[in-house]
Structure formats: structure tokens, C-alpha cells
Subunit: 321 residues, 4 copies
């Protein structure tokens, strides 16, 4: 998906591709008529490459970020940076102060709807922000193999919402409370010691409140909503439908098709805007809009949530930093 996005993007060009599974790389390279690198190093050292997009398995992210930054190549890396906060902190030290932009793939910040909602707050349209409610439900349970690598619900899925929470709140969360549930597939979740359903409350130093509810299954499409309550009004960024068709009959009215199924469809514009923002940062030397530090902060919140879910208490972000 990322290769196709870059190839089709008006401000970017696909230079080469690499994949640990060589046939996959070959297919993508052929499809877009670009060179297939035989190793990551080939990519990092190539003069034809202005920047790299890392969408490999999570355990490789930090290594590749370090290698790319060492080679002076700006990076757009999929979240999470790593499942280990210690590894992320070590990586942070290596990439800091190198002047090489690193952007993390928190696509939801770039969604035109979510962005417009945040813009309305910044523009003062709802006065001081009081409450943020984020709904984040995937259309269905991923295959078992996925869970085994993903690092658990909070670091895999809710991490997106923690980033979105920080983006919407406009200030740093200081405390996290989380409840994890095993409601969809209790046996599997017990076995993996993971959750399929969760509720979170986050609070900032100034007292702003944020709630996140998450589920691994939403039969009616990808459920991705943000609600912002302020002293003078409210803004919502709601789900998107494939068309604006409405049906009316004896049993129901105003029936619409299920929501756009998953992130590729739902956040299509967001992926383009993400690349756009990355190109902006490279061309103008402006800061990236979802930085390495944003990636680190979201992981800290996920860690805090895991601790909170385990211990049943409001966890201070400082405890896990």
C-alpha cells in the first residue's frame, strides 16, 4: 500500500523497494517499474534515495531508523517505533540532534475530518477544550499470528488513539487509567494475556479529560470517531460512508451502507496528507508533524495503560517514562 501511495503521490516518487521477502519486493518493484534493493543497506546508501519509508516488522523499526538517520536519510516510519520503551529511548538518543527528520506514521492526525475538528478548537470555535471522546473500533479480530507480534491491544491499537488524544488535547496527559476486557474471544485473550476491548481515561495537568473506547470488532465497519467538548460548543469528526445512499422501507428509514471498512479506505486521504506533510518538512526544513518524540510519548501512554489495567489504578505518566 505504501509503495503504491508514494508512486501515485504528486509530490513524491518511488525510487526503490526492499522487502525481506524478496518475491514481494520483486512484485512491487515490477508493478511500479522501480529497482528492487537486495538489502536495507542498499537503500540507505543509495544516491537515488532522498528519504525512506519504513513499513517493516516492528522489531526492525528502531534499527532501520538508526541506520537511515546515520546515512542522513529522512525517515517516515510506521508506528510503533518499538514495543520496548527502553529500545525507543536508546534510539531517541541516537537520532536526536542529527538534524535528520523522522516522522512516525500516525495517520489519524492527518485525516481531513479529525484535522478540521482540531483546527476548530485551535480557532477558538468551542472555547476552552474540556473533554475529548475517542471511539476506535476495528472491523474484526486479526489472525492469531498478528496478536503474537503486536505487543498487546494498548501498544498495537490504542497507541494510535493515544497519539490522537495528545493531538486533540493540545497538552500532555499526566495520568492514565485503563480497563482491559476479554469479551470477543475470551479463550484466546486469556491464552495470550491480551485484551480485545478496552476503556481508557486520560487526564492532563490542567484537568482536561479524555476517554478512549476500543474494540477489536465492529460489525458495521471501521468505527473511528472523535468528539471534542468545549466551554462554548462541541465538534465531532464522524465515520465515513462509501456513498450517501439512504434507504427507506417498512421496517426502517435512513439506512446507509456500513462504514468504510478499514484503514486503507477510511484513511486514504490521511495517508496522502501524511506523505504531503513529510515532503513539506523535507522541502522547507519545518518540523515534522508526528515526530519521533510523538511516537515515544504514545508508547509511554500505552505502557501506562498496561500498568493501569494490571493494577487498577490511575497511573502517573512519570512512573513509566
Amino acid at each position: 500500500m505504501h509503495a503504491a501511495n508514494i508512486a501515485a503521490h504528486p509530490r513524491a516518487a518511488l525510487a526503490m523497494v526492499y522487502d525481506i521477502h524478496a518475491p514481494s519486493a520483486g512484485e512491487v518493484g515490477d508493478a511500479h517499474g522501480v529497482k528492487v534493493a537486495d538489502s536495507p543497506e542498499t537503500v540507505f546508501s543509495s544516491g537515488d534515495v532522498d528519504a525512506v519509508l519504513i513499513a517493516t516488522a516492528t522489531p526492525t523499526h528502531a534499527d532501520y531508523i538508526e541506520a537511515a538517520v546515520a546515512a542522513g536519510k529522512p525517515v517516515l516510519c510506521e508506528k510503533p517505533i518499538d514495543l520496548s520503551l527502553a529500545r525507543v529511548n536508546a534510539c531517541a538518543e541516537k537520532v536526536a540532534d542529527k538534524g535528520v527528520p523522522v516522522q512516525i506514521g500516525f495517520n489519524r492526525r492527518f485525516d481531513p475530518g479529525h484535522r478540521a475538528a482540531r483546527d476548530a478548537v485551535v480557532a477558538g470555535e468551542i472555547g476552552e477544550l474540556h473533554q475529548v471522546i475517542i471511539t476506535s473500533r476495528d472491523p474484526g479480530m486479526p489472525p492469531r499470528a498478528y496478536y503474537e507480534e503486536a505487543g498487546g491491544l494498548f501498544r498495537d491499537m490504542v497507541i494510535h488513539d493515544f497519539d490522537l488524544a495528545r493531538f486533540m488535547l493540545g497538552e500532555e496527559p499526566t495520568q492514565v487509567f485503563a480497563v482491559g476486557g476479554r469479551l470477543i474471544d475470551p479463550a484466546l485473550m486469556d491464552e495470550l494475556d491480551d485484551y480485545d476491548t478496552s476503556m481508557v481515561i486520560v487526564r492532563t495537568a490542567s484537568g482536561k479529560q479524555c476517554h478512549i473506547n476500543t474494540s477489536r470488532t465492529s460489525t458495521f465497519g471501521y468505527d473511528q470517531r472523535v468528539e471534542l467538548l468545549g466551554e462554548t460548543g462541541m465538534v465531532q469528526s464522524l465515520n465515513r460512508k462509501p456513498t450517501e445512499v439512504r434507504k427507506f422501507g417498512a421496517s426502517a428509514v435512513e439506512r446507509a451502507e456500513p462504514y468504510l471498512e478499514f484503514f486503507i479506505e477510511r484513511y486514504r486521504e490521511a495517508f496522502d496528507a501524511e506523505v504531503d506533510a513529510f515532503v513539506d518538512a523535507l522541502e522547507n526544513g519545518t518540523p515534522v508533524q508526528a515526530s519521533f518524540e510523538d511516537g515515544r510519548r504514545a508508547l509511554i501512554l500505552a505502557e501506562a495503560a498496561m500498568l493501569s489495567a494490571r493494577e487498577g489504578r490511575f497511573v502517573s505518566v512519570d512512573e513509566v517514562k
Copy 2:
């Protein structure tokens, strides 16, 4: 329904009831603890009666209006005044200049939504009004006996929409085009020489355009909508649902319950407001808001529509006046 409405209305009291079918009158009288008159004359001559509401069979309306006005009793009469324009014109002569208020039961003018839509136009919220679109679909076909008395689709059902069109347009229609269809029960409509489906276009002297579409059947509830397009915006008054419940599942999202079924539920507030306005007129001597002349004008438009549907041409309102 009307007796119960008046009995429950905070500004009106039910004094007595009359019905040609004595047992019905008896039942209603008992239910509300009021006297049952043995003839219409008893009502018109009673000192206990300040005003009369006429909801009898259509052919009796004009006679009763004349009798009530002669007795100095203000009248709130159900539409239509009569199926014959000649009879209406004769009645008009008798009730004119008597100083006795006569209000016609065009309840839709009093619906809070339709009223707010019209108010927005009057307040200049959409600039000069250009187009009015009225959708008016009954939930189902009435029994055969009803058709035989009703005077045809245009005089029975669309007459309400003609009144609403005049109310919304804020000026007098000068030309009418109508198409009648036999789509729901062609055999019955052929036999009765009537229509179950229609489309109308009305134009005013200043060029404003109004479309009315009508059907005797709408399986999803009573379909009652008004759309007003102006030079700077648009206002819609849409259908009403019993609750704001929405359902989401694998086959559809945002499903709502069918719309309020029929006029008693849909226009409940309108019936109250209609009585309110009538009491206002009586107490303050202000003009009624749906006058005898409004009733006559709506009938003229219905007659023009019938002529148009027959002859397939734009009929001037002057032809049938």
C-alpha cells in the same frame, strides 16, 4: 380526535358535541362529560357555545358554516369547504362582511417545523425565495368508500399541499400544471377516474416555482417534507421520527424507525397550534391564519390541477376562479 384535542387544550373547553350518528356523539360526550346536542341547530343556538369546530362530512361544511356565522358563532372548519367551487363561492358571499371569524383546518401551516421554515424565509435567511418543493405521501391507500366521497386526489389530498404552497410562496400562484398517475391500484383508479400518484408544478406571477409530489402510499411512514431554495441558502422541514434511536449492523448503519405514521401523530403539535391560533383570533380580534379565502384559493388550485391533468397544459388560475 378534535373533541379530545379541544378538551385537553389549555385555552379551550369542550362545551357540547353533535354527530349525525347519535351513538358516536354519545360516546364522545360521555368520555368528556359534556352535553350531547340533538341537532346542529342546538349547537349554533346555544348560549354555552362560544365557537364551533366543524368536522362533519364534506357536503355539510358549507351549510354549517353559513348557519354558524348566521348565529354569530366563529367557526373552525375542516378542509375542504366544499367540493364545488360554485358552492364555496356562494358560501363566501354569505359569510363575508359578517365579522364572524372562519378558520379552515389547514393544519400543516401550524406545524412547528414547517412554520419555522417559512419564518426563516420571512426573516431573510435564504434571500429571495426561488423554489419550493413539497413532498406529501400518505402511508397507505384509504378504503374504497373514502374515495367515493373524497372528490379525487387533488381536492382531497393535494389541497393541503396547495395551501402549504401558498403559505410558503408568500404570493399567489397564477398557473398550475399537474400529472395524475394510476400506479398503486390502476384498476380501482380507472374505475373511479381518480389518481393515486401525482406531480404538480405551480408558478407565481413573479416567477417563483413550486413542485408538489404526492402518493397515496409511502411504506416508511407519513412522508411530509418541505424544501425552500432561496438566492442565498436553503431550508428544509423534514420528516419526524418517533425516537432518535439509530441502529448499526453488518448490513446497514444509522437505521431509524419508520416515520410517524399519520396525521394524528405527525401533526399533533400542529392541531394544538391551530386551536391556539383560533383562540388568539377570537380573543384579540386579529385575522385568522387560515381563512375562508385560503380555503377557497386552495380549492381553486385543486380545480386548476384537475383541469391541467385532463388537458395536459399549464392552466391559468383565472380560468377556474
Copy 3:
């Protein structure tokens, strides 16, 4: 309001009224043409009174419930039963096993929309219930005097939502986490040691999750929503608008009027249904639908929330029982 509701209700009649402020009682008595009692005891001992509705100041509720039950009069009492759980428990002992119905005024259970949402769950329309999200925001801050009597945000306002949570969950919450905020009027809230904004998470023994967000101010009308997520679908009961008018212009489309302002308008049908259900219980000897125990349970949850907000931890309901 309650006197007028009962007077207008088709299945109830107003027999007499009492108010500690005699002129108020006089006014209401005059308005409805009923006797004004000179003391609560007169009401409880009157042969004309089949049942009593208690809508007095909170500290009098428990005493009056006890007196009414002792006199064999069924009671419909406004929430909360008392601000002290000890007092409620004492009252519970006195009214238990007397066979005299006591219904608590949790009107939201009777709202047609909320009720239809719950019915959909019971009917299996969304499979097993996983998450409940309740939004509950009052249109504006009450006067200072109100706060001083109200017992704090959780016992005054969120108690309604705790009852609704129990109603929607269909099983007993076992743990409560709450955050209180001072965002609207921090100075006043500091002074009163109260909150104007809150977020709550509740969990049941089977792992169901419920979130409640509350604010003392919602500039766009009374914000009262319930969302129920199940394994196969979702149901929402959304806010109600005065009309279905929508406005469209150069700066925005589909604009609607602010939501119904407050509980008297928003829950009008609910108040009627509440009285209806009470009459049902009296006439048929069936259990009341919002019982004394429901009132006690909601207070326990409010107490647990207060403790949680103070101590920043997931509080077990057993701790405060």
C-alpha cells in the same frame, strides 16, 4: 411540574397537594382545583389519596417515604432517596417487606428512545453487550444555592447516569473509576470541593464496560445520549431536536436548532411513562420498574465514584455497600 403532569395524565388524578411553602401549594392547588393539605401527615392519612409523589427537598425524602409506607400509601419519590447511604439503608429496612410499592424517579429509564435501545439489546439485536457509553451534559451551571444542597456532582447528577448504566448493562457493576474536573468554574468548585465535569468507567463482573461523561454545561442544549456496542451491532439513543428543520448556506449545511433545552422538555414522554408504569404497578401488583433498591444501588455507585475520584483508583462497589 409533577402536579401538572399528574393532573393531565389519563390514568392518574391529582387529589391534593402539599408544599412546605404554603403559597406555592396554594397556587398549584388553585390551578388544578384540588385541596391543599396543611401538613404531609394530612396527605398520608387521607382516604382520598391512593398514592403519593414526593418531590420535596432531598433531606425529607426518606422520612416521607417511611411515613407514606407506614400509612400504606404507594410512593413515587424523586431521586436521590437521601445523600447518606446509611440513612438510605435504614430507610430500606423500614420499607422492606411492607408490600407497599416504592418507585424512584429515574425518569431516563422511561424515555422512549433509551427504552427502545435497551429493548434492542434484550431482543438480541446486537448480540452480547460489550460497551455502554453514556453522555450526560446539563445545559448550564445551576445557581450556587443549588450546589450547596445537591451533595456533589456524582450524587446529584451522575446518579441518573449510574441508574441508566445499570438499566442498560443488565447486570450489576462491580467496580467504579471516576475523575472529577473543575473546568467550568474552578474557583467555585474549589470552594465547594465539588466538580463540574467528570468521566467515569464502570465494570461488571462479566467484564462489560461502561463509560459515563458528564458536564454541567452544554451550550447546544441538553446532551443526553446512550450508545450500546454489542458483538454483532450497535444501538444509539441520540439527542432530540424541537423540529426537523435543517438550514443550508454558504458557511454550513444541515444546521439544526439546538437540542431540547432541559429535562422537562427532553424527558416529557418519560415523565408520563414513569407515571404510567407506577399506575401499572399499583393496578396489577407487578414490581415497580425503578425500585427503592435501584435508588440505593445508584447511590452506592455515586459513593464509589466519589471515593475513586478522591483516591485515584478502581473502587470495588463492595467497599461502599
Copy 4:
């Protein structure tokens, strides 16, 4: 726009471009790295060209269609074929029976929403179709020069809706009634003997009814809606918004951004689907989905509407064929 669409389309490639204004062609050719033809003939005779898309000035359409077909090149041509029905009929004779596909650019048929609405009818979801209501309002008045070439409201703008009407009705209209208005810029419309606002009623042989309302100005975005009423239900294809953001404040709730501004945004997917369908026809030899005959039929309806608006009568389609 068309060149960029084809260049970006996964199933098409831009081979060369021609424009009577050479610098424009040069720019587009450079942008896409393709050859710029020095004459239309170069295009028609080129072995590199599998098919041509004609988006030149209307008076050239018929000539180019004839030339392309003579050269055996399939054609996708913008509407209208020509403003003169005689010229269209002459062209029809030349291109008939040549086995060279000619598709007309009626993009609305390919809109996913409109298409899904039609599909629902075909699938029997609303039973027998009774009424079609098409709303078609451009966001603003075009420049004066545009009007002078456009051939009048009915042949320029409503022609799209006539095609959509035929597509939705699923059978041939037999009669047309139209009213033209001069409400937005009466002076200009008088001078040009044109209309800026119209209402149309179309009827088919089986009695189906279709209403089209049109305006040259809709301040709230491009207003493009279709409503289909059938014996058992209704389907609507409604306007599209840039995002699903909703705003709530003291003066209004559920405010959304204005609708997508104009055809390039609103019908973006439709343009892609149109090219897709054209490629399908070429690759599989199946009939095109908006044929030359469809273009001719829409023009006949536009002519009938012009005659109707002039003479104030229901015009039979046979009169202008």
C-alpha cells in the same frame, strides 16, 4: 482534467493530446510526458492511439466523432453531442453500424451513489418504481461567455438530468413539461432569452413520473440529489460533504461544511468509473453504458423541454424526435 484522469487511471494510458490552443496542449503534454499532436487528424490516424476522448468545444463534437469512427477509433465524447438535433441525427447515421464504440460523457450515471440507488431499484428493493425526483443545482452562475455557447439551460445543464432520469426510470419518457425561470439574473436571462432556474415533469408510457428541479446557483455547494419512490420503499442518493465533521453551538447543532463544490470534486469517482466502463467496453466488446443514442435521447428531451417552456404544454417526445 480529463488528461490527468486518464494518465492516473490504472487501466488507461495517455498517448497524446491535442488542443486548438497549442500552448494548452503543450502544457498538458509536458505535465504528463506525452506527445502533443499538431492536428486532430494526427490523433485519429496514429497507431499509438487506441481510443480518443473528445472534450473540445461542443460544435466540434460531431465532426470529431465522425472522424474518429471513420478511423476506427472508439470515442468517449463529452456531452452534448451537438446543440442541433438534426446534426446529431446526421452524425448518428454515419456512426451507426460501424462497430466502433462511442460513449457519451454522462458522468452522473457512473457516480457510485446514484448507481447504487439505481441498483437497489433493479434488485427490487423498492418494488415497482413510481416517482423519481432529481435535484440539480450548480454552485454559481457561469461567466456570460459560457452562456453564449452553451445552448440554453435545458441543453447545457438539464441535459445531464434528462440522461439521469432515463437511467433511473429504466424506460423511455414520452412526455415533457418544463417551466423556465429568470430569478437569479433576470436582466441577463432576458437578454440571452435563457433561464437560470427550471422545473420539469417527465412521464413515461407506463405512467412513471419524474421531476427535475434545477438552479444555476446553490450557495451551499453543488446540490446533486436523486430520490426514487417505489411501491414498497424509497432510495435517496444525497449530497457529499468534504468530511464528516459536525459542529454544535448555542445557535445551531449538527452543522456540516458546505457540500463538495462542483463536478470535479463531486463526481471524481464517477469520472474514473466512466473511463473504467469505457475500457471494459473496448476490452470485452460489450455495449458502452452511455451510448450515442443515449446522448441523442437526452437532447431530444432537452428540445422537448424548450418547446414546453415556450408553449406551456405537455410536449410529446415524438413531436421533436
